[in-house]
Symmetry: C2
Subunit: 438 residues, 2 copies
């Protein structure tokens, strides 16, 4: 159903989902249901090794459901992003309804699945969806593992600056002079971008695919750099990995090797900054130039997420340059709203997500694990303390963005091994209870 919440639009669309049932025990084995987030479901399927690792132990069927408007699950095909009319059905509520209807469909049509307990699993926005799925449809899912889900990064539930101070701490811890070098880089760019010669020097030094021509282009360069530091904080994994980009183990430590001396002259400092970001964008050595319009894998649906951020998923973020290494930037809702209106023809609603999902008042729900990595900037908006016996927080001090959802690895820190063990233990409890109650 394209619109679950209205009856005037009665058309349907095809939602993609992936199933792996080689370890599933008919009639009793549970279903681990990945609540797809803002991207191609195959990519998430290939980056959620945890589910594959536990399938045998739990005799579980794995289902990966693609989120509407991403990957191949486009309600109006190529027209899906054409205007605000076609985008109207891109909301978390519609996505959760898709998931609920899909689970019920599977239970009805897959022989032996009728009484299988279902557990929702997701990371990041998908982690929010997993938690919200359990909150809103507890009759459909027995519990949820919400990994690195910043369900409190809304309204004024958490300070808007914490996110960037977590990023900054990651760099501070990873090498002497590192965060200071980045903090000093903004002024250096500002100096150089005030002249044409400086802009050209920047374009050459950063090996940019399209040269910078105006002061506005320099702002884009700075935003691109900021996003790069944020992304590095998200994927600061303890082993070689390829999530947003192919990277070595502990990539921030590698990056910081180039950023030891914050007191260098503008040009020397920025040459080092280039070396640092080049490690992120060109670890394989295949990039002939760097593209400031792209910071991560193309498997993520940036357009869709931009629309969602411009409607329900408004996450206030800010920097002050003191508690973080970024240029000071206040959270400006009005400016953001204008940007959204000119881009999509819609306005964000700040408080709706709080009205809908309860903000911090979620204690009457049950069976949700909120896991967060101490290195992950999104932990700033995450649930990092137990709310009740059955709303449990798991903190992984050495973990970046949903490290626990990744495949087991010999280089895994103990904290993530313990986190996974606890998650499996709780999931088993939910499965047992669901079986008995049936």
């Amino acid at each position: 159903q394209i619109d679950h919440f209205g009856f005037d639009e009665n058309r349907t669309f095809q939602q993609r989902y992936l199933v792996a049932d080689q370890h599933w025990k008919k009639d009793s084995g549970p279903i681990l249901f990945y609540t797809g987030n803002e991207g191609d479901i195959e990519w998430f399927c290939n980056n959620t090794g945890f589910m594959w690792d536990v399938a045998e132990e739990l005799n579980a069927m794995l289902v990966f459901a693609e989120h509407r408007y991403y990957g191949e699950s486009l309600p109006f095909g190529n027209e899906s992003f054409s205007d605000s009319k076609h985008l109207n059905y891109l909301t978390s509520e519609q996505a959760l309804a898709d998931f609920a209807v899909l689970v019920e469909y599977l239970k009805m049509t897959v022989a032996g699945a009728q009484h299988s307990p279902v557990i929702a699993i997701g990371g990041s926005y998908g982690g929010m969806l997993a938690a919200w799925f359990r909150m809103k449809y507890p009759h459909v899912v027995a519990g949820a593992l919400a990994a690195s889900a910043p369900i409190w990064q809304f309204g004024d539930l958490v300070p808007c600056g914490t996110f960037f101070s977590v990023v900054t701490n990651d760099f501070k811890k990873s090498g002497t002079g590192c965060s200071e070098s980045i903090r000093n880089s903004w002024k250096a760019i500002n100096h150089l971008s005030s002249t044409d010669a400086g802009l050209q020097w920047l374009s050459n030094t950063f090996h940019l695919c399209s040269p910078l021509k105006t002061l506005q282009d320099a702002v884009i360069l700075k935003n691109w750099l900021s996003e790069t530091w944020v992304n590095l904080a998200m994927v600061n994994y303890p082993y070689k990995a390829d999530f947003l980009q192919p990277l070595p183990a502990w990539p921030i430590q590698e990056v910081c090797k180039f950023l030891k001396d914050p007191s260098l002259s503008d040009k020397l400092l920025l040459q080092n900054v280039f070396q640092a970001v080049n490690l992120y964008y060109n670890y394989t050595g295949e990039a002939s130039c760097l593209d400031v319009s792209q910071t991560a894998t193309k498997s993520l649906g940036e357009m869709g997420w931009y629309y969602q951020a411009c409607t329900e998923m408004v996450m206030p973020l800010c920097t002050d340059g003191v508690h973080d290494m970024f240029e000071p930037s206040k959270w400006d809702f009005d400016a953001f709203s204008e940007e959204c209106y000119s881009m999509w023809g819609v306005r964000p609603r700040l408080s709706w997500i709080l009205s809908m999902y309860g903000g911090k008042n979620i204690s009457s729900h049950s069976n949700i694990i909120f896991s967060n990595g101490g290195l992950d900037p999104w932990s700033a908006g995450g649930v990092t303390r137990n709310i009740s016996n059955s709303l449990v927080a798991v903190v992984i001090p050495d973990g970046a963005h949903h490290l626990d959802l990744r495949s087991r690895n010999p280089l895994d820190p103990k904290s993530v091994q313990q986190a996974r063990a606890m998650e499996i233990c709780l999931m088993k409890e939910w499965i047992e209870k669901a079986r008995h109650s049936h």
Copy 2:
């Protein structure tokens, strides 16, 4: 917000709500929040004496919120019912979102209300809304009293025939020959309506405002009579009352005084049936003729409810003429769907309400009282057994449709007095708990 679940329609509308705060204790007293159903909120306000009776004891503020598309809360004014585009926002989900946003608005703007525990109260469809409000927005309401709420009158959760067998039992118990007389009346009408003379006799005998002209008109007459018997079952109160119509105490007993002999000839039988329905429609003696297009107060929004029944609120009902006193009539979804499509341009979705609100799998929720009257046909789809310690069923054997929500009356049977006492006790518990948790 006209559309809570989409951002393309960004207009707002004015929702009416009534507030009574003369007994409210600022800063600690609770809010009793009436979840308005399919009608004018003033009418519900005047027919929910229970809330007025307990306001002082609980130091409570009363709020009566009007349901969108009813009374004066019309999203598009006079255009609201013009077509399926304008009707698109008439759903229970939108109504619940209205309620959630309204409660949050009141808490933010009424001095001393910020930490007031809120309890949802409603009857019939409003009772369903109260229960669903607690299920979906437990962060907004601490508990719900769902009076005569047939939340299971959907899909195949209960047999479709029970509803009419409850009606039949009410008549059976209220006078010898009563239900038999009604069961025999259908054939009598069928005989008479096969000739023009017979149709005219029926029109005269029933004092109809517009005479019957065709066989199809006779079907309308029979449907009108059926609805009248159902309505009598709903308002079979132990004292003189004016809910759907002004009526004496125990109206079915009064009606049955005319229906003692089921073996009379067609015409004599139907003359008695007229006397019976005339008591329902003309107890005040003011009606000069009877109108087969109207069976209850005009304060109910029949158009709106018809649309809702044609979309989400599909309640399968059927009769067999054996376990009930009605003409046999199977539940025919396809025919109903066609009727809905020609009337409103929309098709009902049978299973959506089950996917959304969980059907019988609601045990993970808490703090809901489901009260049901043994005389009320809607109890057939109600929750009449405890589901858990905090999902409590209250049965009132001598009660009709949400008798417990009516004002205290000297003629109240003991069962409803006990029911109210229990409801108050549980509400006090919820209020206490909510205070402590805050």
